[in-house]
């Protein structure tokens, strides 16, 4: 039955995508559809004195201009803290806060009306630096103060640890806001259907959206339906409300179909981002390289609103000292409000930031001790049963050492010296290494569950009601593959749906490397129940013991005969044709007292190897070789796994070398692909992808999760390679060619 697991399977959504047939949220349209757009704040911090929509309302083609006064609910949303307003009431806190929602029949009218809305402001002092924002006298962005959350964890005795150390390395690191740039920006369509507000949106969280829409607009949940078709990328950006409430509001009040699709500029300025952070580290080690103590202060800039600020920072806290044994530690994390763009969920969720910082620390220790960079990592790497740097025990599969061993068997490792030696004049090459780990699931204290649903159809085929959004990662294909294996039926017999609050069951967000793990686990449970019903009925019909009946393809076989599943369908009572099964994510058994969202207990691990070429005349860095070894548990579908790794590494290379939003007083200066540079096909090398498949006892078929782990290590690996090539240690991302040239010693530059 498991023959299909671990084998390549073409994606179930492949054909509808390569033919252009699939309707993405931005493609949906029907006759009479109105276009929606937003009048947004041009100031980073201001009181709204007056909003004048009179002239704008007269624009030919404008149907309605909404303000907060049109909203009868709380007008608030936010995943944890409801601190965002659907339409601003008195105050705006960043450039982009929405003030009016405009509905018009055409694009030109929409633009003209938005331009003609007059907003009078009283501009307030603003703050853009999180360190400044933490000070007493800083402008207050929210009544509660600028520190959204402070998470602190101690383990062992950090002072004692430093006293016992032979060397102490200190360092400070900074990373900018990063944009996910999914190829489809925030988009959706809505209309009234069967008396319900029905919203189709690019969303990772349709069930949570329904709750948010309900509360914000004051409409009962049962009058709201949210559907998440396959959409054009998310990476965390669509983990929560973007356009959903605007769509619901307009469709509900106007009783007409409406659509919205952000421009790239609007998306970059107003959506969620990877948090900018400044991080201060102090690390102690013995002469033999063993870590004795790590202390850190992490300051995450969450911008104007909380979104996942506290949770992302907490994940940074949890992973702050990497996948290593650290007997003594103390870490203080702060998520701080500023008048910058909003920080939120992005693939890695706080871990890429601290991985860059701590892996840099590891390199510095190795250098100070004249130790090999691989060796220091291997010596300190966590093993099953160890306690992490925040003191909780690793009780499940722990494969970081295996990834370290395996990387030495890679082609790139074996070929790196030759590759480096082949460098041409004015170019220097070097290699770098970095490790990471990434907790799967939402962590202690946050409801984290899935409820799978599977149905036997009249034809004898099956349908899996996928409850977790597929933004492109391929979890839907994973569900079909798991169902095919568990039902002992060919893939062609398995139909699927994507999430729909009216048809599928709440299974939580498409996030946290959890989608295939947790829904797959629930699905196996639901299938067992359905199989049991099928075999029971077959046994009765065939007059034979149940355990002599076998489910094979589209029929049940036994010594007494064969019965087709379409017959079984007729014999089964209606409610027995559908089965559902609920599972919870496992959580840490110890250290559950730290705070919400940490620690985790199921971890993926990785070791990355990068070879770079630095042009010593321009400072430009090119990644010319890359190998990822990751332990994600059992790989269900190798090409889908490789695609996840390659895509994550590409994003990580972008974060290392070119990506980062340049802000001036809260305004994103690089707000399109012309200036916000993401890697293209010529910037990413062919990546050597290796899986270390530690069998995870808690996962379906032994799988863990693969969505995020490979985005964490690339910046650290690239920076490690740059130092190896030209002796320059970069501590601020993205790597600046100017900084590299300035730091290369002049005589060294002459070949």
């Amino acid at each position: 039955m498991k023959a299909i697991i671990g084998k390549p399977l073409n994606r179930v959504d492949g054909e509808i995508k390569v033919t252009g047939r699939h309707l993405y949220p931005s493609d949906m349209w029907e006759d009479g559809t109105l276009l929606l757009g937003l009048k947004r704040s041009v100031h980073p911090h201001a009181i709204i004195k007056r909003v004048d929509t009179q002239e704008a309302s007269k624009v030919d083609g404008v149907v309605r201009i909404f303000t907060y006064k049109d909203i009868s609910g709380t007008n608030r949303y936010g995943v944890v803290h409801k601190d965002q307003q659907v339409l601003a009431e008195e105050k705006v806190r960043y450039i982009g806060d929405a003030i009016c929602l405009v509905a018009a029949t055409n694009r030109e009218a929409l633009k003209e009306a938005i331009d003609k809305i007059k907003v009078e402001y009283e501009v307030l002092p603003a703050v853009f630096d999180p360190v400044e924002a933490m000070k007493e006298n800083a402008p207050k962005i929210h009544k509660s103060g600028n520190i959204l959350q402070h998470t602190t964890v101690s383990y062992g005795d950090v002072e004692k640890g430093f006293k016992e150390s032979d060397i102490i390395i200190e360092g400070s690191y900074s990373v900018p806001f990063i944009d996910h740039t999914p190829m489809e920006t925030e988009a959706g369509f809505a209309k009234m259907q069967d008396g319900k507000i029905t919203v189709w949106a690019g969303t990772q969280t349709p069930f949570r959206d329904r709750k948010e829409i309900s509360k914000a607009l004051g409409i009962p949940e049962e009058k709201i339906r949210v559907i998440a078709p396959f959409f054009g990328g998310g990476f965390g950006r669509k983990d929560g409300i973007t356009v959903q409430i605007y769509l619901a509001l307009a469709a509900y009040i106007l009783k007409r179909p409406v659509k919205i699709y952000y421009s790239r500029e609007e998306s970059i300025q107003t959506s969620y981002h990877r948090h900018a952070a400044v991080m201060y580290y102090k690390t102690g080690a013995k002469r033999d390289g063993m870590l004795t103590a790590v202390q850190a202060r992490l300051i995450f800039d969450t911008g104007a609103y909380a979104s996942f600020g506290g949770e992302v920072m907490s994940l940074g806290v949890e992973h702050f000292a990497g996948p290593y044994r650290v007997p003594n530690s103390r870490v203080d994390g702060y998520a701080v409000y500023t008048n910058n763009i909003i920080g939120g969920a992005m693939r890695g969720f706080g871990v890429p930031q601290v991985t860059f910082a701590f892996e840099s620390q590891m390199d510095k220790i190795a250098k100070a001790l004249n130790m090999d960079r691989w060796e220091i990592r291997y010596k300190n790497a966590l093993e099953h049963g160890d306690k992490t740097a925040i003191g909780h025990t690793l009780i499940y599969s722990t494969g970081v050492k295996r990834t370290l061993k395996k990387v030495r068997e890679s082609n790139l490792w074996k070929g790196k010296d030759k590759l480096i030696a082949e460098s041409t004049p004015f170019k220097r090459r070097g290699w770098g290494i970095a490790c990471s780990y990434q907790g799967g699931g939402l962590g202690v204290g946050i409801p984290d569950f899935a409820e799978a649903k599977v149905e036997l159809l009249p034809s004898g085929r099956y349908r899996v009601y996928g409850g977790i959004s597929d933004m492109g990662q391929g979890n839907t294909t994973g569900y079909v593959q798991i169902a095919s294996a568990a039902l002992n039926a060919p893939v062609e017999m398995i139909e699927y749906t994507t999430p729909d609050t009216d048809r599928t069951l709440d299974s939580g967000p498409s996030a946290a490397s959890r989608t295939t793990y947790i829904y797959g686990k629930a699905l196996l449970g639901a299938i067992e129940l359905l199989k049991d019903e099928i075999l029971q009925v077959a046994a009765e019909k065939l007059s034979c013991p149940k355990n002599s009946c076998k489910l094979i393809d589209d029929r049940v076989e036994s010594d007494k005969g064969t019965i087709h599943l379409s017959e079984i369908y007729k014999l089964l009572p209606e409610k027995k044709r559908v089965s559902t099964f609920y599972v919870d994510m496992p959580i840490s058994k110890d250290r559950r007292d730290i705070g919400s969202g940490l620690p985790h207990i199921v971890y993926a691990y990785a070791t990355h190897l990068a070879v770079v070429e630095v042009d010593i005349l321009t400072g430009k860095v090119r990644v010319i070789g890359y190998c990822s070894v990751s332990d994600v548990g059992k790989v269900i579908n190798p090409p889908v796994f490789e695609g996840q790794v390659e895509g994550a590494v590409a994003q990580g290379i972008g974060a290392a070398l070119t990506e980062g939003i340049k802000l001036k007083d809260g305004l994103a200066l690089n707000n399109n692909f012309t200036t916000y540079i993401v890697p293209t096909a010529v910037d990413v090398p062919q990546i050597e992808v290796i899986a270390v498949e530690s069998a995870e006892p808690t996962g379906p078929f032994g799988l863990k999760g693969t969505g995020e782990i490979n985005v964490d290590a690339p910046p650290a690996a690239v920076v490690s390679a740059i130092e190896n090539a030209v002796g320059v240690r970069v501590s601020s991302l993205p790597v600046s060619p100017e900084e590299i040239i300035k730091s290369i010693e002049v005589e060294d530059a002459i070949p």
């Binding site: 994606r11 054909e15 010529v682």
Partner: protein, 164 residues
């Protein structure tokens, strides 16, 4: 401001069409809004991401940068025009088989760009493919599997040409 309307005639995916467009409307507006061929995507509106790539007289162009009235008398091919008689084009097949599709939003543009490159080329290297696709952004795949798909399609197309 009065913007002139113009009647234009063109062929799209083998079908002759005549529509009236305003002088300031873009080719992508004609394709997506007027003709409802939504397989062509808009990812940036500035010709930087390549998601809106279509073929005009066999040449790959970002349809967000071309005015609609410019296609008067021309032949347009979009992703919807590749599948013929129920059979996928080798590029479409290769994208599925090589695992080159994730979210799929860049896929139509990638395929249309590759149509231009691979249509009549006897030999092609992965480096040439990478260079040719440098105007098409994909945020999901890291490009490796797209290059694999292009090489696979190239092989299939070459075999087809040799059989004719």
């Amino acid at each position: 401001m009065v913007i002139k309307l113009k009647v234009i005639s063109f062929t799209i995916n083998g079908e002759k069409r005549q529509v009236t467009m305003r002088g300031d409307e873009r080719l992508i507006d004609l394709i997506r809004d007027e003709l409802k061929l939504t397989g062509t995507k808009e990812g940036c509106g500035q010709g930087e991401c390549g998601a809106c790539t279509v073929l005009v007289d066999g040449k790959a162009v970002p349809s967000c940068l071309m005015l609609a009235v410019k296609v008067d008398g021309k032949e347009i091919l979009t992703i919807e025009g590749l599948k013929r008689n129920g059979i996928l084009h080798p590029l479409q097949k290769a994208f599925i088989e090589a695992g080159a599709v994730q979210c799929g939003f860049c896929t139509p543009g990638m395929i249309m760009s590759l149509m231009e490159l691979l249509s009549n080329q006897d030999e092609v290297t992965p480096e040439e493919i990478r260079a040719h696709l440098s105007g098409n952004i994909c945020r999901c795949t890291g490009y490796s599997k797209i290059i694999d798909a292009a090489m696979l399609a190239h092989k299939m197309l070459k075999e087809m040409r040799n059989h004719v």
